[in-house]
Structure formats: C-alpha cells, structure tokens
C-alpha cells in the first residue's frame, strides 16, 4: 500500500489553538487526496474545488468537535463526504445503490494492487463505472488507507455494508486487471 504520512506528527493540537502555520501544514497534507476523493465522486472540477474549500473552512470552524487528534484525516474526509451527500441531495441524484449483504470471504488488510501503465486508463474507467457508494469506499481505502472503522465513520454506513462495498469493488477491479494482461 502507498505510504501515508504519520498522523501522529501532524500539528493538530497547534491548529486547535488557532495557529495559521499549523493549518497550512494540515491542509497541504490533505488537499490533493481530498480533492481526488471529491472529484472522483462528483466529477465536476469547480464543484470539487468548492467542496474542498468549504471543507477546510468547516474544519477551522469546528476543530473543537474533533475528539482525537489522530483521527483528523478521517474527520476531514467525513466533512467532505457530508458535503458531497448534501450536493447530491440538492441535485436529487440517486446516491445509494442496492448492495448485496456482507461477503463472508472479505479480506481485511493491505493488498498489493499494482497497476501497469497500459491499465491505468482502464482502471480509471472502471472506477467511474462503480456505483457511487462502492467508489467512495474504495477511494477512502486506496487514498488514505483508512481502516474499516474509519470508513464506517466517514460514510456513516454500517460496518457490514462497508465490507460488502469494498469487497465487490475490489473484486471488480481485480477481475478487470486480470482479464486484460
């Protein structure tokens, strides 16, 4: 799995005290993954930028509500996810697709999915074809390597559903990558 910056070293405590430099470090760390997450969900560049901006402003305003400093990343992605959901609701788009019950053969833990250059376009195409809830779970898993419990909190979805979505999304991706060598 990709290396993710150690959350323990992030200056969340200083950000709580209102230090602008600490906020700069935090936003710099998360701006691109957060944008990638939001963009891949809503597929609109300007709207994705707006949501990232709103997320950062909300984070500054509501940092007092964050319980554990180590969970800052998940908390930030949770705000962004909520804003995406609000946007879908405004546009009356269908957010939730029916997902089968949790798979028994779910494998938790890091996987070594590597994509060859010639498969990159197909990977992105398949990612876009996935239903939004499965895509959201998969993006959170790949972008930040969030544990299942964190994804549950971010998406406000039961654990079994998250497991199921991740299982089917990964399965679909693997099938694609194995089918086209």
């Amino acid at each position: 799995m990709p290396e993710v910056a150690d959350n323990a070293t992030l200056p969340v405590t200083q950000a709580r005290a209102g230090e602008p430099a600490a906020w700069d470090v935090l936003f710099r760390r998360y701006q691109l993954p957060l944008y990638a997450f939001v963009f891949e969900l809503i597929r609109d560049e300007q709207a994705a930028l707006d949501i990232v901006q709103e997320t950062f402003i909300a984070a500054v305003r509501h940092i007092g509500g964050l319980r554990e400093d180590a969970k800052f990343g998940g908390w930030l992605f949770g705000i962004a996810h909520q804003k995406c959901v609000q946007r879908w609701r405004k546009r009356t788009e269908v957010l939730l697709d029916e997902v089968p019950e949790p798979a028994d053969d779910f494998e938790e833990g890091p996987d070594e999915l590597l994509i060859r250059r010639e498969q990159e376009a197909e990977f992105m195409e398949l990612l876009n074809r996935l239903p939004v809830p499965q895509r959201a779970v998969l993006l959170l898993h790949y972008l930040e390597d969030f544990p299942l419990e964190e994804i549950v909190r971010i998406t406000e979805t039961p654990l079994g559903t998250v497991k199921s979505r991740l299982h089917y999304a990964k399965k679909a991706l693997r099938q694609l990558l194995e089918a086209r060598p």
Partner: protein, 132 residues
Amino acid sequence: MKTPRELLLARHQAANAKLDVLRREIVARQAAAPDRPGFLARLWLELIWPCRRTWTGLAAVWLLIIAANLSLREPRPALAQRNPEPQIMMSYQVQEKMLNDLLADRAAPPDVERPRFFKPGPRSESFHRYTV
C-alpha cells in the same frame, strides 16, 4: 507500475496549483481574523459536545431522581382554616385580655422606692460601717 493512490494523485496533480491558492487564502484569513470561538462556544465544544452521551445520561439520571423525589413526597397538610371556630376565638380573646391586664400592672410606676442595700462611698467609711 503504480499503486491506485499514486495513480489517483498523479491524475489530479494539475489541480494542486489551484488548491495551493485556495489553501493560502483560507490560512491568510485565519491569520488575519482567527476564528477562535468564544468562551461559551469553547465550553460547549470542548467540555459538553465531546462527552455528549455522558452528559445526556447524567441529565436523564437527575431527571429520574427529581421525578422519584416528587412522586414519593407526602402531600402537604391542609392549610389552617382561615375562619377559626368561635370557641377558639373566645379563648384567644380571654387570653389576650389577661395578657393586657398583666402588662398594664407592670407598666405602672412603683409607688414606694425600694430600699437600697448598697450605697457607694469611700472604702475607709465602708470598713467602719461593717465593723461597728
């Protein structure tokens, strides 16, 4: 070969410049006018909100205690009758009259001055007074 993360981040690398501008704006705004909550807001955010379940539980327990206390409390005795019976009124008037009579006796000045057993004077005289 790339990991999905590397692939996704590389795909959106072009947006980084816009994100930098956006980030600097927010940080500059934060530096200019720090969005620090007031005392009550901080109290709410740092003390109440993180432990909201605990506080709710405590509040529920207190409500239960108050409800139990109110339901178990004995009813207050009826207030004294506003119009007492005539017999009680009569006895009260007799007592009042007796009290007035007693007080009137005391209020009158004494007819005769009471003898004084001690008269102040020089100590030498007092010695003779008691030894004679």
